[in-house]
Symmetry: C2
Subunit: 497 residues, 2 copies
């Protein structure tokens, strides 16, 4: 039974049910689960653990790669299983409990969790729960559609539970490249110098003695919730394509551009779709996640190779991908998130980093996580790993939200995830502001005129002009700087009558 999936004899006898495996967990443990942007997450163990937590005291610190699919985060949060959660999430129920202060959430640069575990700056992982395609003859774990932090969790956990997912085709074997940096001191350079380069092994090595249980599942990944491009996201894509053309014309890059990173979500997906039919070719991606747009760009022939830590697709694109997996396998690679997001590699390759802002201010500071400065949306994810160390850091947003009641361009952001130092280019559907080499007093007029919604430009100009009269390198009226957010909360709109 499952001989093509469990090819090492020592693992066969570990087969058990999720309910049995769930008995291995003790109250207060730290657990590391596979899963990154709703791909490659363990399917059975979250359900079994939530079930236990409903009947007895069981609270865990849960680490993952990034967000989980299948409503698992919500299910576990709702059952009271989660005391602490890191480094990323995107679940409505979990978000509510985080914002109520009921679950402690540690929102972290996605490249750093593995490093903090390795240096014992975080409590050690007691149990790793890893979804896999198969166990190899040598006893290696083949991940499914994400690598995330799985290799680090396996390396460091006291015991390991593997979920073999029969719905993940065995053809996924060969898609992964597992490499982890050494502990300091004496760490050597990571030898990666191009997105397509393999530097590791195809499977996660594990001592069979540490494998406590193997569980069989067949639930697929949750489909991506990405929305089709609309008028605004198509306009954003158009501005970025024009900007890339100017960069090429200025001799700053070739038509292959630089390796692209694109954050999760509909806007980033739309921007990449906007590259189809553009003059750019032989492009590469070096990203944390690949969405539908990456597959479309591979199909268009313009994208030569894509490296990431996970693949999260809509149902039709997922089916298409799986039908042609043998073709894609030579043009795709999944790496540990520590490597996909590593500052060393991001800087060396000279990435173009494309991430999404909730709001940005007239000086170029970006909030990508906190609604009204207080309520967590998802998390910073990998955007900080990429924006700080990239060749070019772009942030995109629609200019307004809530039918115009909220301006995404504000006098001062209510929370800073990316400082002015890490933001080169801002884009909304109205235009693009190139902030390179500009002082704050030069950035403000440019951002207002190029990016703000026309309805808000006069208000923004008035703020900036009044602040500039008062002086300072970065002029502000501190008593009014956050008043737009307060105004929205009290009057329902940021728009002054």
């Amino acid at each position: 039974m499952h001989q093509d999936r469990i090819r090492h004899p020592a693992f066969i006898k570990k087969l058990t049910t999720a309910a049995e495996a769930a008995r291995l967990f003790k109250n207060g443990m730290t657990v590391g689960m596979s899963g990154f942007t709703r791909a490659g997450d363990a399917k059975a163990m979250p359900i079994a653990l939530a079930e236990r937590a409903r009947h007895e005291p069981l609270q865990l610190t849960l680490l993952t790669g990034a967000s989980l699919g299948n409503g698992s985060d919500g299910l576990m949060a709702d059952a009271g299983l989660l005391a602490r959660r890191m480094p990323f999430q995107s679940d409505a129920t979990l978000r509510r409990k985080i914002n109520a202060g009921e679950i402690m959430y540690i929102d972290q640069h996605l490249s750093e969790t593995a490093e903090q575990l390795r240096s014992h700056s975080l409590a050690p992982v007691d149990i790793a729960v890893i979804e896999a395609v198969a166990i190899t003859e040598e006893g290696g774990i083949i991940p499914t559609m994400a690598v995330g932090n799985s290799a680090s969790f396996v390396q460091q956990a006291r015991s390991v539970i593997v979920e073999i997912n029969l719905s993940a085709p065995t053809e996924l074997e060969g898609l992964h490249d597992i490499y982890l940096p050494q502990r300091q001191p004496g760490r050597q350079p990571i030898p990666l110098t191009s997105p397509e380069q393999r530097i590791g092994s195809a499977a996660i090595a594990v001592d069979p003695a540490r494998v406590a249980a193997i569980v069989i599942t067949d639930s697929p990944d949750s489909p991506s919730t990405v929305l089709s491009p609309d008028k605004e996201t198509a306009a954003i894509a158009g501005h970025i394509v024009d900007f890339f053309k100017e960069e090429v014309a200025a001799g700053r890059m070739g038509l292959e551009l630089m390796p692209l990173q694109a954050g999760i979500g509909s806007i980033a997906n739309a921007v990449l779709l906007g590259l189809i039919g553009s003059p750019f070719h032989d492009m590469t991606m070096y990203s944390e996640v690949l969405q539908d747009s990456a597959i479309a760009l591979l199909d268009s022939g313009q994208l030569r190779f894509a490296s990431a830590s996970s693949i999260t697709l809509s149902s039709p694109v997922h089916d298409h991908f799986m039908r042609h997996i043998r073709d894609y396998r030579s043009r795709l690679l999944l790496r540990p998130q520590e490597i996909s997001n590593h500052p060393e590699i991001v800087r060396r390759l000279g990435l173009i980093a494309l991430n999404t802002a909730l709001e940005f201010d007239i000086y170029g500071n970006v909030n990508s996580t906190h609604v009204a400065g207080t309520r967590m949306m998802n998390g910073i994810g990998g955007s900080g790993d990429f924006a700080r160390n990239s060749h070019l850091s772009l942030f995109v947003s629609k200019s307004v939200a809530k039918a115009g009641a909220i301006s995404s361009v504000v006098p001062m952001v209510s929370h800073v995830d990316h400082t002015e130092h890490d933001v080169n280019i801002l884009v909304t559907e109205w235009g693009l502001a190139d902030l390179r080499g500009l002082a704050p007093r030069e950035r403000a007029p440019l951002i207002i005129e190029r990016c703000a919604h026309p309805d808000y430009r006069a208000q923004l100009r008035a703020y900036f002009e009044q602040a500039a009269c008062r002086g300072g390198h970065t002029p502000h009226l501190l008593e009014q700087a956050l008043s737009w957010h307060s105004e929205y909360q009290s009057a329902g709109t940021m728009l002054q009558s």
Copy 2:
């Protein structure tokens, strides 16, 4: 004449006066000057250029390594010579003009200027002005007490002016290690794996045809303005030594610690002095600047090796250093700031980064540049290069300023240079808050009780408790978040009566 200083025949005939060399500059040019934290700056050309600017229209964009000494920044600002300035400064006159909006200042991560020049994201450097000990037989430029961005400026400038400083002893030759990363794509790993490793050449290579002038000077570097430790900075040092002992006891590092980076200024200097007599030994530094404390630690025998981009010393320590330069030369190395601050190396070596905050908030966000959110003090410098990518990121500050009228711990910082994601440890004279693995609601009480001045704790507690009732992952009262700063401006104190 000067045969020991100008050892290549093609350079001898370039000898001229600073006034003559100043004629090479045209209005609107971009100029790259040597100098980093008041060390290794060109002495004669700033004076000659300021003189020209007083009599004819001459405005420049000035790039340096970091801050200049000898009042040069003030002199040039005062003469109206500076239209634009980057990436760092610390001069009172220049600061005033920046804050008045008269000079456009681009405050930048110090590792990034060279990268932006290399990729042509900034306008090219027309003229490089580099202070040197000597020109070698092969025509290489030997820098003085700083490397900064000098190698990049020389590599990229249309023409080069060298200031040979006779007050810099020829024994400085051999102190420098010049290596610059390649342009992308195809860049290889930077081969540095330990602070003492040499990866480049002892001199900056230059084609003699591009050298437009050589000027002779003999003015010394400005002495460091660092203050001796006081009760508060000694207490900060004590908390950090205790923390390091705990890290060693927990097995997270050995008694050699990890390579240390310390920012410029009296507090960082005092912290390093506090390590003298501690149980730590065989330590290394991998920093951007070495102050008096680094020399004292070398003398104590506890510091094995120090790598940096500049050395800035008080007069007595400078004299001591120069008397023993032959001894120090085997235990010190100066690198380009792109390498001393490079994310790739900072992450690989696993640095302990120690930088200074102007203020920090109850959630761990740090302002290190803007007084009251608007007025630039100096600049972010290298703190962002180090804090984001280090193994451990510490920020230190005295708990109050202006005789207690300003609390350095506030509800919300008025400007964010370092987000909560990049700050592991906060320290004031009252104590140390270890934020690793903590959610915002856990950080706030810890920061208030450990770091805030007792006079401000009740106010901070009241803010946090009221905000927490209102909810959110990072609770805030937006309408009051910046009121402490406004209150200081209107009432002269943040302290509520």
